[in-house]
Symmetry: C2
Subunit: 472 residues, 2 copies
């Protein structure tokens, strides 16, 4: 299916008719215009073909993951990634390449080990959640208190878990749009707080992920004010299974865990920006982006080297085409997304008094390198242009709204119009925030289909008569 | 395909005709008897149906991997596994349950870390190969010398690699029968010796495996006499890719590695034995087996909890059936297979002057829990019985000879007749010797198909008029 979609896309004859690939029920509800009559412009056709035939995003992602590798927000490695991005943006021909720095608190992983102590001593594969406090020196050894789901913990009375290590299980459902992530993620975000309220000394959760490999998935957690901070770690799915099997036998299960993460004070991060200056309306900005930071366990290929590759790769396709967009196309590599969308907030802070109101349309790629399968809108006017972008790519329009992506959220809330190519993320959470997020997981044809989509959006947004804000 | 095969098997009507499932070309070459006329006996039919409807192997494997977990030959955990096996064998109704102890040198894994130091500092995921010496304290930091394949290293002149860390890559091919393992394994077995001969200080190899996950695969290595012993570790496939991409950019690549494995002296291991005493020929032995030890990274589910589950599970099916085999059925859980087939050799040493000559037929399951797809013979007479076992299971006869399995090899060389159910191991080397070898990887229907096959072999070998040795 994926290969078919991409090969069809390369043929402008077939792809001119979006009905070819659009399920009838979606077509009926979302495309009042006669899409069968849609013909993409010669310029868009040229960009799409160049992207599908090229390796722009694939090469950029290869370069970032190989030459920099893991790059946690605020780390020396993320600083190296900024240097890499500046050099790469210049190399591909972007203008006004610059870093917009900001400072942030830096959290660093340390040692992390765990084991079943009794009844069946054996190692458990864990990883600290981002922001977790350390265990006391020498670790914590305690009886498990088991909650099949996070709801079960929240429904438990306050108190009663004194001295226990809480184990929260619960499985995440696979879905193309990652719909299972939000619900599954509650235990990661709030598990430590809810367990501490009830007297627990530490927490382990079944990883928020959809695989069954021996990789724990990290990711940021939060402590609520006024509640004791207790350490929290994720178990790989097979280790969570192992604990559940052990618990199912009845009797006390004792686990020992030791973690030494720590906050290391204020560090510098930054957003890296490069542009193609518009030929007619240089002050009006079309923004595409990904985030430059990654978690530390893998090399940040799908999360989010791919987003950097797709955004900068699409800019490269446009530069190489020789076409001159009317509006300015801005590529942003956000810093410190994983640890709290810090780059997205810093961008708004840096631009709200200057050019934020001139942002015409913004998007981000931060959902891996799977193919785009529909387009979503977050604009107040010019929806027909968003719809036409989808038609140019042979993809249906979704009625679901979007804020444009994690780092675009803050500027979206400031009124910046957004859109998003929805990527197939069915397998995204197999790899997400694990050591297994590495470059070999990226398919060249699939990532380049996203480059075609981004180049299409950039060109069509640049040429459109609307400002997408409803006030033209 | 797998599900179809197993569901067909449950129907004796369909399965009576092995042609249903046998490719024509195999049928022609391997089954001179008119297999279409084959009808399995009521006893075998009953055993097969009980196995397919049951959970005997699934439950035993669950118990071993959960209640004991990792169990390296010679370790305290392997001793615990022997206690587990004694209890489990008694629980399922085996007779004469006993441990035959032996001593062995014990190798223990320690710390193992590695990183690219330059040009792009980042962590590498490695694991020590079994038997490797440690690095000097503080580790080894040295330039890489790259060999795309083990052949390339062997073809290199002696000397010339002084002070270098040798990196041997080379990919293993997937095959149902694991045919890629032998060739790929040469670098694991001999890599350290060949590198040391040329002056190297350490070795990293691309793991002997077929997955692309961030797991290095361990496994035993050997040092040749008279050659300096240097440390050797395996890299996960994504890390080997990363090194190759880094090397492809040209320039020196420096890696640091630290490993602290050590030989810990003589320890006790042992084979655990249980029997169903034969009703008519109690001195004649049909032997089925798996190995009880595992590597330390996973919980030894496919390697070889499954083999213990299948062998003991098949015995359980026979006991539960109430059928009384004429010959003695012996289940052996071998110790210390991974570290050099020590249990297999110890068994021969313990039995060669007593009952080894009375062994009628022997086999082992040590290739995961995938379904059996053909049967192989290592007998001198009674081939028609082996062929009929396959027919009873609806599986073709293979002309390829067998020694019955790793731990059966030593007794095979002493003249013990053997056979083997060839299991589909296409994905076996995705998990083999990694942390990911865990119980969740086992499919209940597939492992129980093997129980049906083992029970068939045990019953038919017990009833057969031949002694399979060609001297009846």
């Amino acid at each position: 299916m994926r290969a078919l979609l991409i090969s069809l896309l390369a043929s402008s004859t077939l792809i001119g008719c979006s009905e070819t690939l659009t399920p009838p029920e979606k077509e009926a509800s979302s495309t009042p215009a006669k899409s069968a009559e849609y013909q993409r412009s010669p310029e868009v056709d040229r960009l799409i073909k160049a992207a599908l035939a090229g390796t722009q995003a694939y090469d950029i992602t290869e370069s970032l993951t190989t030459e920099v590798g893991p790059r946690v927000g605020g780390s020396p490695e993320e600083a190296k990634a900024r240097e890499w991005a500046v050099a790469k943006f210049k190399e591909i021909g972007l203008q006004n390449v610059r870093i917009e720095p900001f400072t942030m608190p830096y959290w660093e992983r340390g040692i992390e080990t765990a084991a079943i102590v009794s009844p069946n001593p054996q190692q458990l594969y864990i990883t600290s959640l981002g922001g977790s406090v350390a265990t006391p020196e020498g670790g914590i050894e305690a009886e498990l208190a088991y909650f099949p789901t996070f709801e079960d913990l929240k429904n438990a009375p306050e108190g009663g878990l004194e001295g226990k290590i809480v184990f929260i299980s619960g499985r995440m459902k696979k879905a193309p749009d990652g719909a299972g992530y939000g619900p599954a993620n509650q235990k990661r975000r709030e598990g430590a707080t809810e367990a501490a309220k009830r007297g627990a000394v530490a927490v382990v959760i079944r990883s928020v992920g959809t695989d069954s490999h021996r990789f724990p998935h990290t990711g940021m957690m939060r402590y609520a004010d006024g509640v004791k901070k207790i350490p929290i770690a994720a178990l790989s799915a097979p280790d969570a299974d192992q604990l559940e099997r052990t618990l199912s036998r009845g009797g006390e299960v004792t686990v020992k865990m030791e973690m030494t993460p720590a906050w290391r004070g204020e560090r510098e991060s930054g957003n890296v920006i490069g542009e193609i200056i518009g030929s007619e309306k240089p002050d009006e900005i079309v923004l595409v982006s990904g985030h430059l930071d990654s978690w530390d366990l893998g090399t940040g290929a799908i999360d989010d080297g791919a987003g950097i590759g797709i955004s900068a790769g699409a800019a490269r396709v446009i530069i190489e085409s020789g076409l001159k967009p009317k509006r300015t196309l801005r590529v942003v590599a956000f810093g410190a997304e994983e640890v709290g969308l810090l780059g997205g907030f810093a961008y708004v802070a840096a631009h709200k008094d200057t050019d934020l109101d001139n942002h015409v349309l913004a998007t981000e790629s931060d959902f891996g390198a799977g193919p785009a399968y529909e387009i979503k809108s977050g604009v107040k006017s010019g929806v027909s242009v968003i719809r036409a972008m989808g038609q140019a790519m042979g993809l249906p329009f979704s009625d679901m709204p979007t804020n444009g992506g994690p780092d675009i959220g803050p500027m979206s809330r400031q009124g910046v119009p957004t859109m998003r190519w929805q990527q197939d993320g069915t397998d995204y959470f197999d790899l997400h925030h694990t050591p297994d997020d590495t470059f070999d997981k990226i398919d060249k044809d699939e990532i380049q289909q996203n480059v075609a989509a981004f180049a299409t959006m950039m060109w069509m947004a640049s040429e459109a008569d609307t400002n997408f804000r409803g006030d033209e």
